[in-house]
């Protein structure tokens, strides 16, 4: 046994030393954030420019890539490590600025004017990460490695205490591992919030030799991308969590279900699986413990309902992904009829930290009912777009205004949409609500997988609701009538209202439909589908009335209910709008106020986009 323990720690120790060296080498190091959002903003060009510059000047500077540090708004982000001095993040970089940054790094200097913050050490005139508003109220637990390590490097993961948890768990009895999870209070981060420890213990106690664990990486909620970011940024944490889950329930085969839309996440997970196998952290006799576990990646093909666990199982089995009635729950009869645990990416990435730091450490964060932290994707009409990880119990106002920096262009906050298509729209007066499962549900919304889309006064609540029903109408699998027909009917009524053909009695019909769909649908897709409708009817009824009675869209979104005009006070007569109008609907001479012909206008908004003086009014 002692021999086993030595070889076990031997592998980890040598990888740890290697990782420490590559995170903080003796030379300077420049790291480019290259997750999907960084790449979308030109990170590849920046990486190439830096490599080129370093090679051309024959500099002793290491060049690496990492994933997403969460502050997507200021991508592309570049980190510069100066040994013994500081580690600094630079924002909104360009290839030209990067070349200059290389030169400054070679001189051992920081570029104060482009810096966002320091993440290690200090540099004069640059705030520390903990001091800037976007990060001040955040608590990085699950995302602690995202953007800080190379996601391809198992050594760097281990250098930041990776695989200590698996090593510890393998020395525990499986029941002890489950007890630890139960005590931590962790609840599933995919949306339903079921206690993770309980789920594991059901599967553990279910009879059967063959059991399965599945990582649900089918992040189908439009507007949420934390699972992508975690898989791209800390894939080994997900894998370690899945391995611990397998050990706890007694499974030797795991599956990782990823989205077709996330090629980079899949690449990172593939690489993590290969590396873990290479070092005996996956496969036969893991760390010499006698425990065998293997993982296979399956790729989805684009379907929202596959996030539902019984549909996901059917999808892996190659069948049509129609949800099944529960019970039996997958923990008793799941994949191929065997006991199966399905956990979401974020949940699994939390597991190693709970095992390593203890249940008490985890449960010290959060609220009475909801422990720990949660990642939210804060997007839409918000100044600081990005992924934020916060302790449960923080208020929505703190998330939107303190972390998010409020609404752009000085506009007015209208609502925050929480929980994706299954969630609801929360108005200004509820912003002081603490965020946890119960409080959000009491508002009629859900936490869901953590999408938070902010809407301002130019966002139409009826249109937004119609958008969700459009989505759900398409994604409903069609198996049960309440969901299939109810969503379609509600969608058609909403469309009428947005087209100015709504009737007053429609609101009552919508309310009835919503309750029928909610109460009688087979799975959670239908069960939560009406939330956007119910919350907008509850908090934004005036907007429905404006559409129905006054035939007016207050936000200026619904095409059939708005008109475009030129503001004579602001129009300088520059003719830009005349040039872009595809209908030839705008007339006017140079330096004279222009006029829009309402007969010809198709309300495409081209003039609105083109006018630099905000002289186009939407009414």
């Amino acid at each position: 046994m002692e021999g086993v323990m030595t070889s076990r720690s031997g592998v980890l120790e040598s990888l740890r030393a290697e990782g420490v060296k590559s995170i903080s080498p003796d030379c300077s190091k420049i790291t480019v954030g290259m997750a999907t959002c960084g790449i979308a903003q030109g990170a590849r060009g920046i990486f190439a420019a830096i490599e080129e510059e370093v090679a051309a000047s024959k500099l002793d500077i290491a060049v690496e890539s990492t994933a997403c540090i969460g502050f997507c708004q200021v991508e592309p982000i570049v980190e510069v490590y100066l040994p013994g001095k500081s580690r600094t993040l630079y924002q909104q970089m360009t290839p030209d600025k990067s070349r200059e940054l290389v030169a400054a790094t070679a001189r051992g200097e920081v570029k104060k004017e482009w810096a966002l913050c320091t993440v290690e050490g200090t540099a004069e005139g640059i705030p520390a990460m903990k001091e800037i508003p976007f990060y001040k109220k955040q608590l990085k637990v699950v995302t602690r490695n995202c953007g800080f390590i190379s996601p391809r490097s198992i050594a760097e993961y281990i250098a930041r205490d990776g695989y200590l948890a698996l090593s510890k768990a393998l020395g525990m009895k499986s029941d002890e591992v489950i007890d630890e999870m139960s005590h931590s209070g962790l609840r599933g981060r995919g949306g339903a919030g079921f206690p993770t420890g309980k789920k594991w213990s059901f599967a553990r106690n279910a009879p059967g030799d063959q059991k399965y664990v599945i990582c649900n990486g089918d992040e189908g909620d439009p507007g949420a991308y934390m699972d992508r970011a975690v898989m791209e940024g800390d894939p080994f944490a997900v894998l370690e969590g899945l391995t611990i889950a397998a050990y706890a329930i007694g499974s030797s085969q795991g599956f990782l279900y990823t989205r077709e839309e996330y090629p980079l996440a899949r690449e990172m997970m593939d690489n993590a699986i290969e590396s873990a196998k290479k070092y005996g952290l996956l496969g036969k006799n893991i760390l010499g413990s006698g425990f065998d576990f293997d993982v296979r990646i399956t790729k989805g093909a684009g379907s929202f309902v596959c996030g539902e666990e019984t549909a996901l199982i059917a999808s892996i089995e190659g069948k049509l992904p129609n949800p099944l009635p529960r019970p039996p729950y997958p923990a008793i009869s799941g994949l191929f009829g065997k006991p199966t645990v399905i956990n979401n990416v974020e949940t699994l990435a939390t597991v190693p930290q709970i095992i390593r730091n203890g249940a008490d450490w985890f449960s010290s964060m959060g609220t009475e009912s909801t422990k720990g932290t949660k990642i939210f994707s804060l997007v839409g009409k918000i100044n600081n777009n990005g992924l934020v990880e916060v302790p449960m119990g923080i208020s929505l106002r703190e998330i939107v205004f303190d972390i998010g920096g409020g609404i752009p262009k000085g506009r007015k906050f209208k609502a925050v949409q929480s929980g994706g298509p299954s969630g609801g729209l929360i108005p200004e007066e509820c912003l002081d609500t603490p965020v946890d499962y119960e409080h959000l549900e009491a508002l009629g919304a859900i936490m869901g997988s953590g999408g938070m889309i902010v809407a301002d006064d130019k966002t139409c609540m009826v249109d937004m609701t119609k958008f969700f029903f459009d989505f759900l109408n398409y994604e409903s699998c069609g198996k049960c009538a309440p969901c299939r027909e109810g969503i379609r009917q509600a969608h058609d009524i909403l469309e009428d209202i947005c087209s100015g053909e709504g009737k007053e009695e429609d609101l009552e019909t919508l309310g009835e439909l919503a309750h029928t769909v909610k109460d009688f649908s087979l799975c959670a897709l239908g069960g939560t589908a009406p939330n956007s409708l119910l919350t907008t009817l509850r908090y934004f009824k005036d907007e429905y009335y404006a559409h129905i009675k006054d035939k007016r869209c207050p936000a200026g979104v619904c095409k059939k209910l708005i008109t475009y005009h030129v503001d004579p006070e602001k129009c300088s007569g520059c003719r830009v709008c005349i040039k872009v109008c595809p209908q030839g609907a705008i007339s006017g001479e140079l330096k004279k106020v222009h006029l829009i012909d309402q007969e010809k206008c198709i309300k495409c908004g081209a003039c609105l986009e083109a006018c630099k003086l905000d002289a186009i009014i939407v009414e």
Binding site: P222, A224, L320, M464, F467, F468
Partner: protein, 165 residues
């Protein structure tokens, strides 16, 4: 179909591999023809009807050939809030086709996606070339950028055609 034989060989007799087999077939052909769906079903040992059911359930699978350039407009919630419907309408007008369609010359396919997961860059449009790995994500789209995007791709095709001559 001869060209699918090799791509499908690893899935022989395994009815659980419907999605991977269909993905492999579409990867090879660019779309799933009636014949290809039949081949997949036969290889896996399921009925053509079952395979067709799976094909039409998922948004990834296509029943028609696609164009050389595929333009995908993200219709996720963040993108919708930031005006992606306007981007889609603009592209439909510029390209003369609707979402889900391919033009006659098979130069362009326009499609939508439920969410690309790059929500902080909303509205997002993704372009890719058929058979060439890697896609380009265009963030903060405007109608003007959408028109420029199509013009740029057209220009590139004209240049490539001239070079080929």
């Amino acid at each position: 179909m001869k060209e699918l034989e090799e791509a499908l060989s690893t899935f022989k007799g395994n009815p659980h591999m419907t999605i991977p087999a269909l993905q492999a077939a579409q990867g090879k052909l660019g779309y799933l023809s009636r014949e290809a769906i039949g081949d997949v079903a036969q290889t896996l040992g399921i009925t053509t009807g079952e395979a067709y059911g799976v094909v039409t359930f998922y948004s990834q699978f296509r029943l028609k050939p696609v164009g050389k350039n595929i333009i995908t407009v993200c219709r996720g919630t963040a993108c919708h809030t930031m005006g992606s419907l306007g981007i889609l309408k603009e592209l439909e007008k510029t390209m003369g086709i609707h979402a889900g369609e391919t033009d006659e010359k098979q130069e362009f396919t326009l499609q939508t996606i439920a969410c690309f997961g790059a929500c902080a860059r909303a509205p997002v449009t993704v372009t890719e070339e058929l058979g060439i790995p890697g896609r380009k994500v265009h963030g903060y789209m405007t109608k003007m950028k959408a028109r420029d995007l199509v013009d740029g791709l057209k220009e590139k095709m004209t240049e490539e055609a001239a070079e080929a001559k």
